[in-house]
């Protein structure tokens, strides 16, 4: 089932996506090597979220191909024909891809620990006690060992987002997608989440991160892409792009944000 993967973990090829008659992605090409952190910048509405959501098939693309770890996402290609994957198969693909949302989307009726354990337990990824140990270890890693029995409503936004990261990590993903993970947070709480993400990057996790935190991009990013109107208009090492943007749109965007 390996596609033309080479040594890329993610390969996005000529992806087009429209909602109704509104084109949102107009031919996006992107590759991410294992262990690389790719930061996505761009104005509101440029299709950053949509691109992430296509990678784990939360949205169906209209044209193009996406491979993650060599597997074609959402479809099976056989004898020149595409077959939709069954729901079960899509779910299996998604397990290799962790996703962290802007609004955290923790399950409010479960404790912090239950949030992290839910998916591994339902998907029978080991004995319950083994899963619990792993969840505790993950929560410890994001600095929340003392909050395991709290409900999401009882902890701060920054803590919630760290739980969301632990929850995604509990499925041992090969790739993590972050969609503006800090933009719903009070400024004082942004740092604690970025710290966790930095730690992840240092441990070699492959990540695609949509964010407006330029400092993070500069410090942690291996590649930076700038999107506008559903296209990648500029890409390169973060320091270069940030210091010396080539494209007009990038320039004017950075002028406002920096």
């Amino acid at each position: 089932m390996t596609g033309a993967a080479g040594d890329y973990l993610v390969r996005i090829e000529q992806v087009h996506k429209s909602f109704g008659h509104t084109p949102v992605l107009n031919g996006v090409d992107l590759t991410v090597r294992p262990g690389e952190v790719t930061v996505v910048l761009g104005p509101s509405g440029s299709g950053k979220s949509t691109l992430l959501r296509c990678v784990n098939h939360l949205e169906k693309i209209n044209a193009g191909r996406i491979w993650v770890d060599g597997e074609l996402i959402g479809y099976r290609e056989r004898r020149g024909k595409l077959y939709e994957l069954r729901e079960r198969e899509v779910a299996a693909q998604r397990r290799a891809i962790g996703m962290v949302f802007q609004q955290f989307n923790l399950f409010p009726h479960m404790t912090v620990l239950e949030n992290v354990m839910e998916a591994p337990v339902r998907l029978r990824q080991g004995s319950k006690s083994a899963i619990r140990d792993r969840a505790m270890a993950l929560l410890d890693r994001v600095g929340l060992a003392d909050k395991v029995d709290s409900y999401p409503a009882h902890i701060s936004g920054g803590q919630q987002q760290r739980v969301a990261i632990a929850r995604a990590l509990a499925m041992r993903p090969k790739l993590m997608l972050f969609d503006e993970p800090t933009s719903a947070l009070d400024p004082e709480l942004v740092g604690e989440v970025l710290d966790v993400m930095k730690g992840l990057a240092q441990d070699g996790m492959t990540m695609i991160v949509v964010t407006h935190e330029i400092g993070f991009a500069r410090e942690v990013g291996d590649a930076l892409i700038f999107m506008d109107e559903g296209r990648i208009v500029e890409a390169g090492p973060p320091r270069e792009v940030l210091a010396n943007p080539q494209h007009e749109r990038t320039k004017s965007f950075l002028a406002k944000v920096l």
């Binding site: 090829e13 000529q14 087009h16 429209s18 109704g20 008659h21 084109p23 107009n26 031919g27 104005p43 509101s44 509405g45 440029s46 098939h57 939360l58 949205e59 169906k60 693309i61 209209n62 044209a63 193009g64 479809y75 024909k81 595409l82 077959y83 939709e84 994957l85 069954r86 729901e87 899509v90 506008d228 109107e229 296209r231 007009e248 749109r249 004017s252 965007f253 406002k256």
Partner: protein, 330 residues
């Protein structure tokens, strides 16, 4: 997960930079769902059986149904239903606003009375209320308006049988079935409307009243100009539901009795001709028609109200985005 059909790949906009031609659109073979179709099949068989009963069971006597569906007494019944619904709703809304204001008042006597009113009228079944109102004539044979407790006050000053009544009616000419039924429905509706209005007012962001107060507007001005117009958004949809419920509950008037009302009339024909079932079907058809009309209207009204706000917000989002985008790209 969206499961819409795959639309065609859009052409790139003409002014975009030249790039690789768009690849072929994805036309994948969809997954089959046999279980879902089995269930649908079951439902289809049930529907067919239902239709079969409707068409072949003699008890329906369709020709009799259609003969009687538009006779003058039935049409008069429909008119009565519509008239009483509208009248009761009008009174109910007016009185409901008064009761809601009382309920929100800081004065415990006013808010207590309003609480008692809504409690009583919402806790007793409407059929019981209506029969009660139909029998109110038992309490008084005259209804009189004037100084309250006149006799007692007179006695206090030593005047025997002092009366200070301004005008009065013979209860039985005033409390006809129609009036008793209308009154019962309207007072009951007022209790429900009061709760809706109250909830509507409470649903308005308190920041709105604060902003108005901070501008120096008085409390009545704030209520009239700022709070009520916004409360309407929360008031209109349940009011639509109330109107539909009220229309259906006019059928209960048959037990007051209000004789020229639709349900009484369909039953009267059934009683006279002993063709009960066809007339039940006729009643169903009329009510289905009337409530469906209201439901469609409600849909329009709600959509209109949604357009004013929610949809507008979406539009604003889009505008806002193109606005920022324009700035980002210029």
């Amino acid at each position: 997960m969206s499961n819409q059909a795959t639309p065609p790949v859009p052409d790139p906009p003409p002014d975009s930079p030249p790039e690789r031609a768009a690849p072929e659109a994805i036309r994948a073979i969809p997954v089959r769902h046999p279980g879902r179709w089995l269930a649908a099949g079951g439902v289809a068989v049930l529907a067919a059986m239902f239709a079969h009963v409707l068409l072949t069971n003699e008890a329906f006597q369709w020709s009799f149904v259609f003969e009687n569906l538009f006779t003058p007494p039935i049409l008069r019944g429909v008119r009565t239903v519509v008239v009483i619904t509208l009248l009761a709703m009008a009174i109910g809304i007016t009185l409901g606003i008064v009761v809601a204001m009382m309920r929100l008042s800081a004065n415990p006597l006013l808010s207590g009375a309003a609480w008692f009113y809504t409690w009583f009228f919402r806790a007793v079944p409407r059929i019981v209320l209506l029969v009660l109102f139909g029998n109110l004539g038992i309490l008084w044979d005259r209804l009189e308006f004037g100084l309250p407790f006149d006799r007692q006050i007179g006695a206090l000053f030593g005047i025997q049988d002092f009366q200070a009544r301004i005008f009065g009616f013979d209860a039985r000419t005033v409390l006809t079935g129609f009036v008793a039924g209308l009154l019962g429905l309207a007072l009951s509706e007022a209790a429900y409307m009061a709760e809706i209005v109250r909830a509507g007012i409470l649903s308005v962001d308190p920041g709105q009243s604060e902003a108005a107060a901070a501008l120096g507007l008085s409390r009545p001005q704030t209520l009239r100009r700022v709070v009520l117009p916004q409360a309407m958004r929360a008031i209109i949809p349940p009011t639509g539901n109330e109107l539909i419920a009220l229309l259906k509950d006019t059928a209960l008037l048959a037990y007051v009795p209000v004789t020229n009302e639709l349900w009484f009339q369909t039953q009267a024909i059934g009683a006279r001709t002993f063709r009960i079932f066809p007339m039940l079907v006729a009643a169903c058809m009329w009510y289905l028609f009337l409530t469906s009309v209201l439901m469609v209207l409600q849909n329009f009204v709600e959509r209109y109200f949604a357009r004013g706000y929610g949809a507008a917000r979406d539009r604003a989002r889009v505008r806002l985005r193109s606005f920022t985008r324009g700035q980002g790209g210029a």
